[in-house]
């Protein structure tokens, strides 16, 4: 199944590996930062509107 990559196998694999790694890292940072910001917002909103009306 693995295609014959010839002598440039290392180059191709490293290119794919590094790129996908960077994309995954970007996703992880984005999601983690997003979740934390939204949680902080809910917490502040609860503080500001204890009776729940927005």
């Amino acid at each position: 199944m693995m295609p014959e990559l010839g002598k440039y196998a290392f180059e191709v694999l490293s290119a794919y590996g590094l790129s996908l790694l960077l994309i995954v890292a970007l996703l992880a940072v984005t999601l983690r930062r997003g979740r934390r910001a939204r949680a902080a917002l809910r917490q502040i909103e609860a503080e500001a509107r204890p009776d729940g009306k927005s």
């Binding site: 199944m1 295609p3 014959e4 990559l5 010839g6 002598k7 440039y8 196998a9 180059e11 191709v12 490293s14 290119a15 794919y16 590094l18 790129s19 960077l22 994309i23 890292a25 970007l26 996703l27 984005t30 999601l31 930062r33 997003g34 910001a37 939204r38 902080a40 917002l41 502040i44 909103e45 503080e47 500001a48």
Partner: protein, 243 residues
């Protein structure tokens, strides 16, 4: 229902919530299909051997790196003209994605060029332009972080984006001129596709579409994050007893 409707954060968040699931799903499919098909389904190029497979990462990443800056430029204009917060925050949200895509473009470009040039880095006009673009992204993000007041930050980064775009174009031609040294470079387009036979073409288009959708999904989500941060800041500013 003019598009200015979506400048209102609440309505933007509603739209974003509707669009994001599709965007994330379509992006995943596009990238998976594009890369897998490109990786497994296409023959090697007679000259470059298997390194041609890197095209499925390099071209989409380069495509996003350029268009992210253009999107930021438009968003900055909208902020300066119509003072819509969402567009300023969208520009702020897009910058890191553009930065990462530029880095991927640089990495894959260098690795792809390595067999031909024999070294990991060559001052090829395209790669050098991406390096300069990388610096612009870095400066833009750093300016956002450095200014405390969100409005002033949006203003200053918008001005930097406008002026920076002019200089990015200038650098583009300067680099073309400088690498040839003698005469103006022939091609102007950044990511000119080599003469690709159609067997490579289709997976490339799918991959580009996948990356574009990924960019869209990321920016929608990150803009939502910026809005949440800004809303939390606004509420806490009003919570503290005055004076």
């Amino acid at each position: 229902m003019s598009i200015w409707e979506y400048a209102n954060p609440v309505r933007f968040l509603a739209l974003s919530a509707k669009v994001q699931p599709f965007a994330w799903a379509a992006a995943a499919i596009g990238i998976l299909v594009g890369l897998l098909w490109g990786f497994f389904g296409t023959p090697d190029d007679f000259r470059q051997g298997s390194t041609v497979k890197i095209i499925y990462l390099h071209v989409p990443a380069a495509w996003i790196a350029i268009n992210a800056w253009i999107m930021m430029l438009l968003a900055s204009l909208v902020w300066l003209v119509r003072r819509h917060h969402v567009s300023a925050l969208a520009a702020k949200a897009a910058a890191p994605v553009g930065l990462v895509m530029t880095v991927i473009g640089l990495l894959t470009g260098a690795i792809w060029g390595q067999p031909m040039w024999g070294t990991w880095w060559a001052w090829d006009p395209r790669l050098t332009s991406f390096l300069i673009l990388f610096l612009f992204y870095l400066g833009y993000i750093a300016l956002w972080e450095a200014v405390e007041d969100p409005d002033t930050a949006a203003d200053l980064t918008s001005v930097l984006c406008l002026v920076g775009s002019v200089f990015a174009l200038l650098s583009r031609y300067a680099v073309l001129f400088w690498s040839q040294g003698l005469h103006q470079g022939a091609s102007l387009s950044l990511d000119k596709e080599e003469n690709i036979s159609n067997v490579f073409w289709l997976p490339l288009i799918i991959s580009i579409a996948g990356f574009t959708l990924l960019f869209l999904a990321l920016v929608l989500y990150r803009t939502g994050t910026e809005i949440s941060l800004r809303r939390a800041r606004a509420i806490s500013a009003r919570l503290e007893p005055r004076g």
